[in-house]
Every structure is written in structure tokens, then in C-alpha cells.
């Protein structure tokens, strides 16, 4: 049996090898961060991590050590993630609205360490990325109750940016007022028109007068400025905290679950390497069909023939042509494959206009 000294020497040698590997590993993480910054991707992709660790576990021959290895690998990933967050802290993320609005919350959740840049509206946020002033934009595309956000839909049809990830933010509306406000004294409620719509039953039951604001954060700010105990705002818990307002009632939205789907827009199209694990991949197309009978059906048949499962299809009016529409389509599957490329080639013969807007993994955060 070798003595302690020999064993220690062996450990020192292994540690030296691990140090070299650690350096290599972190340099690789640096490259990943650069890619993510260029493509508007968040640092943590928990699903990928969990899958990866499960696969890597099999590399350990000694079964007794496997659970230790999972812990080890988890901390390696934590360290690498923290490093990447630091690296992309200079990344500029545009959102529509002011600090505290739901768009801000979504951006904060996706890019906790990056610089979040407020924009007066969605269009400004979108254009700022197109112009290269910001690296990516976080914009709402759809609400589970109120439906699509038309202004953003139109931007993604007309603009040049690509969607690289999707984030579903659960919306829990709160009623809030200045300190000392009592729920029974409220007569007027200020909020964004979508939020007012989402709480319509609550508001009509209490015969409350409504006033609209540019966004929920602006509504909270106005309540604070007025200092009137008969006026309240509808906004998020975080917004109440930000403006020092008191929450008077919670979950006042019409449906129990109210989710807004946010998309991250980047100048670069993300082409994920998904070999062998493409089951969470999705893609978004926007297109117009030629003005011929059956053109839309032919288009959808081609998508079906390639085995992609269509999740959602919306039509939106083309602004300059009355009663003509463009289509927004989300489908499950990896489009960066031979099959996907052939489908796009075939669709391009059927569509007057066709654009692959982006790809995303389901619930990346």
C-alpha cells in the first residue's frame, strides 16, 4: 500500500491537470457567452444542462461515484454560468415600457445581469436593435387571454430581426394604491388597456371607472403622483414594490392563469446544434400566399408532409392591401435539418413572401 505522501503527490498532479482543464473549460464558456450575446440568448438553459448532466453521468464507470459527479458537474456549470453572466453584463437589452412594467420583468428574468434599456414603445425597442444601438429586444407577442400583440406581430413580419427565444411570463395582476388606501374607497383604476381588459370582470363588479396609461408601470407612477386614496393602479407585485405602493387585492385577472409570451429579438438567426435532442425545438415562419384558390391549404399540406406539428397559425392584415393577409405560424421540430431546408425550398414556390423568423426551445429558462 502506498503511503500518504505518495497519494498526496498523486492528488497534486491530478489537481494540476484539472487546473489546465478548468482553464480550457472556462475559455470555452467565454466563446459560448460571445455567441449568446450575438444571438440574444440567455445564459442558463436549464433543460440543456439537466440533459447534459444525465448523459455525462454515464461516463463515470464507478457507480458509487456517479452522484458525486452530478454534484461536481452542477457546480462546474454554475461557475461557468456565473462567468458568462459577467461577460454579457455589458449586453444591452431593449424592452418596451419603463422599469417595473411586465416587459421589464421578462427582460430581467431572461438577462438578470445585462443592461436593460427602457424604450417608449415596442417599435422603438425593435428599431434600436435593428440599428445596432442595442443587442436584443424583449417584446410581448401574445397574451393567453387577450391574444396576439398586433404591433409586435407586424414588426416581426416587416422587420429584419430574428426570434431566438421565447419566455412565458405568468401575469398576476394586483390592485395597488398609496399607503393607507382602503379597497372600499377606490373609485378610479389606472392601467394599461390590456391589463384593464384582462381584469374587466373584477372592475365592472365594483363599478370602477378606468383610465388608461402607456403601461402598467406608468399607471403606478401616476397613482403615486396623485396621492389620492380613491385612485388605484393595476400592475405587478414588483411594480408595487418599486413605487412603494400598497397591494390592496391580488389575482384580479379574469382567468386563473394569465400568461404573456415574450420573444427575444436578435439581429442574428440562432441555428442550434440539436442532433439527437430536437424534441423541444420550435420555429416561427411568417408568409403570404399567392392570391390563388387553395394556396394556403397547399402551404399547410407541405408543412404537414414534412412531419412538423403546427401549433398555431394567425392571420394579420397587410396594412397597405385591404382584405389581404399575412400568416404567422409556429411549429414544433428542428428546421435546421435537410428535411427543414427542403420544406422551406418547397414553401418558397408557394408563398409570395416567406421568412423564417426564428427558432426557440420550449421554456428555455
Amino acid at each position: 500500500m502506498s503511503d500518504l505522501k505518495t497519494i498526496r503527490e498523486e492528488i497534486t498532479e491530478i489537481d494540476a491537470q484539472m487546473a489546465a482543464l478548468f482553464e480550457k473549460r472556462m475559455k470555452a464558456a467565454r466563446k459560448v457567452a460571445a455567441y449568446k450575446e450575438a444571438h440574444g440568448l440567455s445564459v442558463r438553459d436549464r433543460k440543456v444542462e439537466a440533459e447534459k448532466i444525465q448523459r455525462q453521468k454515464e461516463l463515470i464507470g464507478d457507480e458509487e461515484l456517479r452522484s458525486y459527479y452530478v454534484l461536481f458537474q452542477q457546480s462546474v456549470m454554475d461557475i461557468a454560468s456565473a462567468y458568462q453572466e459577467t461577460l454579457i453584463s455589458g449586453m444591452k437589452v431593449a424592452y418596451g415600457g419603463v422599469e417595473g412594467a411586465y416587459a421589464y420583468l421578462a427582460a430581467k428574468k431572461l438577462f438578470p445581469s445585462s443592461r436593460l434599456i427602457s424604450n417608449p414603445d415596442f417599435r422603438e425597442a425593435y428599431r434600436s436593435v435593428e440599428k445596432g444601438e442595442n443587442d436584443c429586444a424583449v417584446l410581448p407577442i401574445e397574451n393567453s387571454i387577450a391574444g396576439e400583440v398586433g404591433a409586435v406581430m407586424d414588426l416581426l413580419y416587416q422587420g429584419s430581426l430574428n426570434i431566438t427565444q421565447i419566455y412565458d411570463l405568468p401575469i398576476r395582476h394586483r390592485l395597488m394604491g398609496i399607503k393607507g388606501t382602503r379597497l372600499e374607497d377606490i373609485k378610479t383604476v389606472i392601467s394599461h388597456s390590456q391589463a384593464i381588459g384582462q381584469c374587466s370582470r373584477y372592475l365592472s363588479k365594483r363599478h370602477l371607472i378606468t383610465e388608461t396609461a402607456a403601461n402598467t408601470s406608468a399607471a403606478a407612477e401616476r397613482v403615486l403622483e396623485k396621492g389620492d386614496p380613491t385612485v388605484a393602479a393595476i400592475a405587478s407585485e414588483e411594480t408595487a414594490e418599486l413605487f412603494g405602493l400598497e397591494i390592496l387585492d391580488s389575482d384580479i385577472q379574469n382567468a386563473g392563469t394569465n400568461t404573456t409570451r415574450f420573444a427575444v429579438f436578435s439581429r442574428n438567426l440562432n441555428t442550434p446544434v440539436t442532433a439527437g435532442r430536437n424534441d423541444h425545438e420550435n420555429f416561427i415562419l411568417v408568409f403570404t400566399v399567392k392570391n390563388e384558390a387553395g394556396a394556403l391549404a397547399l402551404t399547410l399540406n407541405i408543412i404537414g408532409a414534412h412531419g412538423y406539428n403546427m401549433r398555431n397559425l394567425k392571420s394579420r392584415p397587410l396594412k397597405d392591401l385591404a382584405w389581404r393577409y399575412y400568416f404567422y405560424l409556429e411549429a414544433e421540430g428542428d428546421i435546421h435539418t435537410q428535411n427543414g431546408r427542403e420544406m422551406l425550398q418547397e414553401l418558397s414556390a408557394l408563398c409570395a413572401d416567406l421568412k423564417l423568423v426564428g427558432t426557440f426551445r420550449e421554456e428555455p429558462v
Binding site: A297, N301, E346, A349, L350
Partner: protein, 342 residues
């Protein structure tokens, strides 16, 4: 009607837009067409080999086969002109079994005509773009021809279709040679009538249009053997058979008298390995008779990468899943021998 109209298929115009022919390949195709037409018009004495698998079951194996043909073609270019067989739809006597790439782009899966109609264009297009061969296909469903009209250099009408009015009329509107096979019963007047019908102009309904064809002076005969009423096979490639067809042509007044001999099917009784022997016998008859020599323009051979055949799902890569074919080595030897004998 007891038909479910499942989905509308993209018209040929659209599928051609999806997979367009390059200008370069269009020029190659025009050149191939001219070379083939010259043989049927008697302006060229090159020997035609319409050669390839019984059915094009998978794109990769077919493309590999045709790439090998390209090398072989270069070796015998002074005497032989090859047209690869890419048969994308298969007639089935009872309607059961593998119906070809058109119906089953994946031989192991259920029919998918939308994928199929795109797949058959893709395989013909790839063959032309990658190897410079514009191929032969069987016209089993005449309405599908427009999907392939810019990539095919030769079309055959099968033994079961040759009596069909639509096949004859559509053949009259093609500007490439159309081979009319003798029917499975062997009655040659049926074949000669089909050639006559195809050589004359007609007005008919095609793809939802009233169309007028010009007549196809390059419609000609293919002898593929036949079945007796008791069911056994009989050949019709022997000297006497060929002379008989020559006599029929003499009496017919048809343009460009021409004949292709199918070395498989009922001529070999599907004994695929007899094809080289049958080929040599035809060449021998050509040497003996100047009439036969001028009439016989070439052979149709069933050949693939591997010998024989196997049912779908069991066949090796490059092995036929329909009728048995001659494997590559034997094919190469046969082609070189034919070139020597010519």
C-alpha cells in the same frame, strides 16, 4: 363517389418551381434528347441501352447506380448511348404491393402522394444535375407526366397500359420517344395500334384542359415477351419474332420504324441472369439480318447494384424490391461485351 378528397396537390408548375432545373442541365437535357431522337430517326447508329433498376425505391442507391453508369457510359461512348431507368411508379397486377416512389417515398410507410410527387421530381432532377443523364420512366399515370416533362428523355408505356386510350393520346403529345410495350397476352397488333395512335395528332382532355397534340413520330415498339393463357411465359426476342415485327412495320406505314428489346420480364421469364445471353442473341440476329439491324435500336435491361431481389424491408442496399435485377459486376461485363460485339 366513394372517394375522400384528402388534399389538393400542388400543380406541376409549382413543383417545378420548388425544384427547378438549372439552365446548364436544361442544355444537357436538350443535347441528350437530340442524341436519342437521332437514333430513332436512323440518323445515328449508336446502340441504345435503357438500363437500371426495376423500381427506383431509394434515392441514394439509385443515384449511386447512375453515377457508376456515367463512368461506364464514358468507356463505351463511341458505340452505346445509355438512358438510365428511373422507374418511380410500378404497375401491380392486383393493385397490391409496393407501387413505387410516387406512392411510397418511403417503401416501408403508408402511401403519401404529396411527398411522392415531390420525391419523384427530386430523384430525376438530382440524376440530371449530378450525372448529366436525363432518364427514362414508365408512364403509368399520364397526368403525372407534366411534373417530369423537363427531366425525362424517354418514356415507356407498360404492357398493362398499352391498350389504354389515355396513354395513347398523351403519348401523341410528347416530344421524346415513347416505347409501346407489347401487351402481356403478346398480341402485337395491340402494340402496333398503340404506336399508330401515338403518331397521330389528337384533341382530348388533359389536366383539366382541352388540349391538342401534334402526334409523336418517335413512338415505337418494345418487345418484352408475353404469357400464354395457361400462365407460362414466352419470349419474343428470337429472330423470327423480330422479322415478324419488321413485316408488321412494313405494312403499317408508320414513321421511324424502331424496336427496343426488353431482356427481362417475360423474355427472361424474370431470370435476371439470362439478360446478357438474350442481349447477345439479339445482337446475333442483327448481324444476320439488315432489316433487324435497322429496326432494333437498343435494349431495355433491368439492372441494379446487387443481384436479384428481396421484399421491401429485407432487401440489401441497391437490391431490387420488385423484379429481380442483374447486379453491377454482371451489368458492367455485359455492357462491355455488347460494345465489343457491335
Amino acid at each position: 363517389m366513394s372517394m375522400l378528397f384528402k388534399r389538393e396537390l400542388p400543380p406541376a408548375r409549382i413543383v417545378k418551381e420548388m425544384y427547378p432545373l438549372s439552365a446548364q442541365s436544361a442544355a444537357v437535357k436538350a443535347e441528350n434528347d437530340n442524341a436519342v431522337r437521332a437514333i430513332f430517326r436512323g440518323e445515328s447508329d449508336k446502340f441504345l441501352l435503357i438500363i437500371g433498376p426495376c423500381s427506383a425505391d431509394r434515392e441514394d442507391a439509385v443515384l449511386e447506380y447512375i453515377s457508376r453508369l456515367r463512368n461506364l457510359q464514358e468507356k463505351v461512348a463511341d458505340k452505346i448511348l445509355m438512358i438510365p431507368r428511373i422507374y418511380t411508379n410500378k404497375p401491380r397486377t392486383t393493385g397490391e404491393g409496393y407501387k413505387g416512389m410516387l406512392h411510397q417515398p418511403d417503401p416501408d410507410s403508408a402511401p403519401d402522394m404529396l411527398k411522392g410527387i415531390i420525391s419523384i421530381r427530386k430523384v430525376h432532377l438530382r440524376a440530371l444535375e449530378e450525372t448529366g443523364f436525363s432518364s427514362a420512366d414508365e408512364m403509368l399515370y399520364p397526368v403525372n407526366y407534366p411534373y417530369l416533362s423537363d427531366v425525362l428523355s424517354y418514356v415507356a408505356v407498360g404492357a398493362r397500359s398499352v391498350e389504354n386510350q389515355t396513354h395513347r393520346l398523351v403519348s401523341s403529345g410528347l416530344d421524346i420517344p415513347v416505347g409501346m410495350k407489347n401487351p402481356t397476352g403478346g398480341i402485337l397488333s395491340v402494340m402496333m395500334n398503340a404506336i399508330k395512335a401515338a403518331q397521330n395528332p389528337h384533341t382530348f382532355v388533359f389536366s383539366g384542359w382541352e388540349v391538342k397534340s401534334t402526334g409523336n413520330p418517335l413512338a415505337h415498339a418494345i418487345l418484352r415477351g408475353y404469357s400464354h393463357k395457361q400462365g407460362s411465359s414466352a419470349p419474343n426476342y428470337h429472330y423470327e419474332d423480330l422479322i415478324f415485327v419488321h413485316e408488321l412495320y412494313e405494312k403499317s406505314g408508320l414513321l421511324n420504324p424502331s424496336m427496343i428489346i426488353d431482356t427481362n420480364h417475360a423474355n427472361s421469364n424474370k431470370k435476371f441472369d439470362q439478360q446478357p445471353r438474350i442481349a447477345k442473341e439479339v445482337l446475333h440476329s442483327m448481324r444476320l439480318s439488315p432489316e433487324i439491324r435497322s429496326l432494333v435500336k437498343g435494349l431495355m435491361v433491368e439492372s441494379y447494384l446487387e443481384d436479384g431481389s428481396c421484399p421491401p424491408g429485407h432487401a440489401a442496399y441497391g437490391q431490387s424490391i420488385t423484379d429481380p435485377c442483374l447486379g453491377w459486376e454482371k451489368t458492367e461485363r455485359m455492357v462491355l461485351e455488347i460494345a465489343d460485339l457491335l
